[in-house]
């Protein structure tokens, strides 16, 4: 065995996998001495997911050889979806068959799946560390953000986020409808992290991408949002003390800029 992992809460992995696979359909799955990681752009490279679960989160974590294997996350998700609350999850790489094995251990029963590996061709590489300075940082309840997105989806395909020291406004508009939600820096819907907003920042993000990520987050949890004027949005979801799920989405920019500064845009 290259690696052999056991997780008591199979359902937890199923939930995480449903979020990840809604964004990236296939990716490399990395198993190192510290933990497991999936870090990948979606097919359009508009967004990126960074999932990490540290080895302490597992009940058994045996890695003979750090490995990076290509998996269809969609197929893996359809398997993990069958997880029951009482089941434990075992994931391993069978050296002989070169297949990724997923085993659900019940009290008196065992369900086994095996998945062949696939070749992932990565166009360009993702930097190990991403340095972006954010002007606006705040923590917010997942239920609140889920409601904002649901409201905005009725109005438009895009969400406008505006933050200043006085609070955050989420809004959406189309030719015939508009909505907006305002929240104060200190409120029940804000998380425990300090509200840290310098200056005013305003950006627009695609709701398709945000919704995919946010709808899968457990409603009782909080997420940390960071962004700057016309810069990417980062959503950090801490999986208790077990690891994290981080999502980056690139902004939409105002129409005139693309057309007038076409050559600048090109050189990016």
């Amino acid at each position: 065995m290259t690696f052999n992992l056991l997780l008591e809460d199979a359902k937890l992995m199923a939930n995480l996998s449903s979020v990840i696979s809604s964004i990236v359909s296939e990716s490399n799955f990395k198993v190192s001495e510290d933990g497991i990681r999936i870090k990948a752009f979606d097919a359009t490279r508009i967004s990126m997911i960074d999932f990490f679960m540290k080895k302490e989160a597992f009940n058994k974590y045996e890695v003979d050889d750090p490995a990076s294997i290509g998996l269809s996350l969609e197929t893996l998700n359809s398997i993990l979806k069958t997880a029951k609350t009482t089941e434990h999850l075992k994931m391993s790489l069978n050296d002989k068959t070169k297949r990724f094995e997923v085993i659900f251990l019940g009290k008196n029963q065992k369900r086994e799946f095996a998945l062949s590996l696939i070749d992932i061709h990565e166009e360009g590489t993702i930097p190990d560390t991403i340095h972006i300075d954010f002007d606006a940082n705040f923590e917010i309840k997942a239920t609140f953000l889920q409601q904002v997105i649901k409201d905005a989806e009725m109005i438009s395909d895009y969400l406008r986020v505006k933050a200043n020291p006085d609070g955050v406004t989420f809004s959406a508009e189309s030719d015939t409808k508009e909505m907006s939600t305002y929240i104060e820096p200190i409120s029940e819907e804000m998380g425990t992290d300090a509200y840290n907003v310098v200056d005013e920042s305003e950006s627009v993000y695609s709701l398709d991408f945000l919704a995919n990520f946010v709808k899968g987050i457990r409603s009782s949890d909080s997420v940390k949002l960071s962004f700057s004027q016309e810069q990417p949005l980062r959503i950090v979801y801490d999986i208790e003390d077990k690891g994290h799920l981080i999502y980056f989405v690139a902004p939409r920019i105002e129409e005139s800029e693309v057309i007038d500064d076409y050559d600048d845009y090109e050189s990016n």
């Binding site: 097919a43 359009t44 490279r45 990417p232 690139a250 129409e255 090109e266």
Partner: protein, 349 residues
Amino acid sequence: MWWQFLGVKNISDLFKGTPINLNELSQKKLAVDAYNIIYQFLASIRGYDGSLLTDKEGIVTSHLTGLLYRNARLLEKGIQLVYVFDGTPSLMKRKELRRRAEAKKKAREELEEALEKGDLVRARIVAQRTSKLTESMVEDSKRLLDLMGIPVVEAEQEGEAQAAHLVKKGKVWAVASQDYDSILFGSPIMVRNLTLSGKRKLPHSNRYININVETYNLKELLKTLDLSREQLVDMSILIGTDFNPDGIKGIGPKTAYKYITKHGNLEMVVENEEIVIDADYEAIRDIFLNPVISNEYNIKFKPLDIEGVVDFLCNERGFSKDRVENTLKKAKKGQDTSLRQKRLDAFFG
């Protein structure tokens, strides 16, 4: 493969493309050879008896149908296209153009004969070879492209050469073409079957096959064949190109490859293999390696003008309004994303 390559013949035996999902082309810019595509539409979008689609006044609309629906589908996927139109053909290409004109004349005669006999199956097959592109079809095509916000580039001579130039300059990511000439013109990346992908009916039969979009990488290709681009061009001249359509009698891709790898270049092949090249191969080589390029182009991607397209196609050319509007709405959303949505990698690095 079943379709006829206009350029280099049967070179496909020597190399294969890499299949790519259309979604992976999302947010990419591609240059296409306009005439190549419009001819495809004129050949394939026809009535049951092989006649072209027209409006009430008899103005041909087959190419507009093709341009509308294909471009809309690609825009919807977030793919941005630049259409490159041929300029004045070089003297070298005249022979090939004459050959094509004669083939069309013959096909038209056969078509009349088939229609007289009432043989519709035959008529439909022959009709595909009669496609003739008129001035007004080109004008209509450019007008539709402009309304769809798709930029047009006018080549000095060869559209394929100009398109390859746009890739080299980084203005677009790849050339999309059916014709391997783009590779000979030095385009680093070529995409095949962009406008054909999906389920396609085989000609002369009722069978269907699935056609995949494929990419070709010039560098990798040359590495696989262990040839330089100059040698690839020399090899193509032996097989036959648009500029010497007959090639050398009795030399197919395999022999040509063998000769070039053995002797290094055309001059040495001629010296050692007792073959005669009638064509001015130095001039042909020059067309591929140093093509005449226009620097007078301005690529601007504009938002699709739904009302304008509806006005042109529905009010002037008799298209169905509901269908056109629905198609355009979907295309507009995809196009809007590619015009305004930034990609994340622009911020990393």
